[in-house]
């Protein structure tokens, strides 16, 4: 798994290099372990593909980390390798943010922050009404937690609705380096009635153990992560690597130093 986590990061860089388009690089790197824990260890899938009735579901709230999702879906056999390099090209199914009409395995189109959690809450309630035991996992950015609609959804879920939902927050902000973030999340989420867990967001075992505890009811997981994880240059200056293209020299230098 560790080798694959390095390979996946370098694959993202390669996609950005070969496609010629910029990408939200450091934001993608902080969620690689979270997605791998979800798709390979925790989520239950039924039937063909990832969207069969009874399958657990995933909604990427921080839609700008689409490349992390696309590469995970590639490893799950949902996206062809050659299609990855059409990223952002006209007519491609893989754009800067994921689209439910175009990407197999994507149930919700995201990109504008704050939309995913309310939708995930509605999905969880729908499955509850139908007696389907699916758990909906959604992954939000800690800056995304600034959005008012997120807090409306947290209130609505706890007060009015039912279902199985786990909201994971990618806590990758470093205020000293200029990141958006939301302070005291654990206290706030607990005050809103959610069961809050916390773990190392780059430890697959810790993530798996924590997320498996969150398959019933309304849970929040604060995953402590590093923006740009795996590349010392990105970790040192994550905001410079927030959205940019990758040159051949960048790729060589970064991929040489990638380690988990």
């Amino acid at each position: 798994m560790t080798k694959r986590l390095v390979e996946q990061r370098n694959l993202i860089l390669e996609i950005v290099l070969r496609s010629g388009w910029a990408g939200h690089l450091s934001s993608n790197m902080s969620i690689i372990e979270i997605l791998n824990a979800l798709y390979f260890e925790v989520m239950h899938f039924e039937g063909k593909g990832l969207s069969g009735r009874g399958s657990d579901r995933f909604v990427l709230g921080k839609g700008h980390a689409a490349l992390a999702l696309y590469t995970t879906l590639f490893y799950k056999g949902q996206i062809k390798h050659e299609d990855l390099y059409l990223y952002n090209s006209r007519g491609s199914s893989l754009g800067g943010h994921p689209c439910r009409h175009k990407v197999p395995g994507v149930d919700v189109s995201t990109g504008s922050l704050g939309h995913a959690l309310p939708i995930a809450v509605g999905m969880a309630h729908s499955y509850y009404l139908q007696g389907i035991k699916s758990t909906v996992f959604t992954l939000l950015g800690d800056g995304e937690m600034n959005e008012g609609a997120v807090w409306e959804a947290l209130l609505i879920a706890e007060q009015k609705l039912q279902g199985n939902l786990c909201a994971i927050v990618d806590c990758n902000a470093d205020v000293t380096k200029g990141s958006n973030y939301t302070p005291a999340l654990a206290n706030k989420l607990t005050a809103f009635g959610w069961t809050v867990h916390e773990c190392d967001g780059h430890d697959i075992n810790a993530l798996t153990k924590t997320l498996k505890k969150c398959k019933e009811g309304f849970n929040a997981v604060l995953a402590n992560t590093v923006k740009g994880k795996g590349y010392p240059a990105m970790e040192k200056e994550p905001e410079i690597w927030h959205y940019r293209a990758v040159s051949s020299d960048d790729y060589i230098a970064l991929s040489r130093e990638c380690s988990i």
């Binding site: 439910r100 990109g111 729908s126």
Partner: protein, 298 residues
């Protein structure tokens, strides 16, 4: 409850009991009477929910219900559907093209006494700019019932504008299709929803074509193009002017005509009182319309 709202409530209650996919959602508005559903709320456990005064998340939840296979019906005052949560309508429903039913109370200036914060004369114009969104403006309770039944379980998001003011005559309206009320030679009049009453009173004996629209999106271009007569077009609509101009322009491309809108001007209506007290100053009376049409065709 107004008459059209009461019809909405009775149809929705019937379908809530008959189809477990249906979910009725409110957003904490005290003006929207939810007591109609008290008798069936227990039986529809979890499917009739007041999500509180959180319209953006509430519409997001409605979208999530649709993703999960449920059919949401969202009912509150029009400004809090259309304007408060516009991005949710645009992205969660329009872009994702999810099924949903949005039933708005108090479009235009029906609640003018409450001031501009509770008015929504921009609803149709704003929703016209969201691709995939259907817009229905019925003129009677019977027309509402026909159109609501037609689209309730469709694959598209649909906005239904409830009206307090009603026409005295109902048509067997079809979704997406304009009605030809009468044919004439000297002018064409588009009447939208509850404005038909005024148009018929004004123009019944005039040699004009009257087309009646209850579906505004998708817009029936073919009927307008085929039935357009004379060189004058009047658009009589119960919302801000301009909402239908793009559709009209594309329907009548290549034709030369003069166009007049009888509609609400784009301004804030902050004088309170009753909505009907605005009719005369805005020229929204049958006499004012008749004078305008007669002057143009003489």
């Amino acid at each position: 409850m107004n008459y059209m709202q009461r019809r909405f409530a009775s149809i929705t209650a019937k379908h809530l009991e008959g189809d477990s996919r249906l979910c009725l959602l409110f957003a904490g508005s005290g003006i929207v009477d939810q007591s109609y559903f008290d008798d069936i709320s227990k039986e529809c456990n979890g499917r009739i929910v007041d999500l509180g005064i959180s319209e953006q998340a509430a519409i997001g939840v409605a979208a999530g219900l649709a993703v999960g296979g449920s059919i949401p019906v969202f009912h509150t005052q029009s400004p809090f559907i259309v304007e408060r949560a516009y991005e949710q309508l645009k992205l969660d429903f329009g872009y994702q093209c999810l099924p949903g039913n949005f039933v708005g109370l108090g479009g235009s200036i029906e609640f003018t006494l409450l001031g501009p914060t509770h008015n929504c004369p921009a609803d149709v114009g704003a929703l016209k700019l969201i691709p995939n969104f259907e817009i229905i403006v019925p003129g009677t309770e019977d027309e509402f019932e026909r159109l609501f039944e037609a689209r309730l379980f469709s694959d598209y998001p649909t906005y239904y504008r409830l009206s307090r003011d009603l026409n005295s005559v109902s048509f067997d309206v079809e979704f997406g299709k304009a009605e030809i009320v009468k044919r004439g030679n000297h002018a064409t009049i588009i009447a939208v929803g509850p404005m038909l009453q005024m148009v018929i009173e004004a123009c019944e004996d005039l040699d004009v074509t009257i087309l009646y629209y209850t579906t505004l999106a998708p817009f029936d271009s073919a009927t307008l193009r085929d039935e357009f007569t004379g060189e004058r077009l009047f658009v009589v609509e119960p919302f801000y002017c301009g909402a239908l101009l793009a559709d009209i322009a594309s329907s009548l491309e290549g034709k030369v005509y003069e166009i007049s809108e009888v509609a609400l001007p784009i301004k804030f209506f902050d004088q309170y009182g009753l909505a009907t007290e605005w009719n005369e100053p805005l020229g929204l009376t049958s006499q004012a319309l008749r004078d305008k049409v007669v002057e143009s065709i003489l």
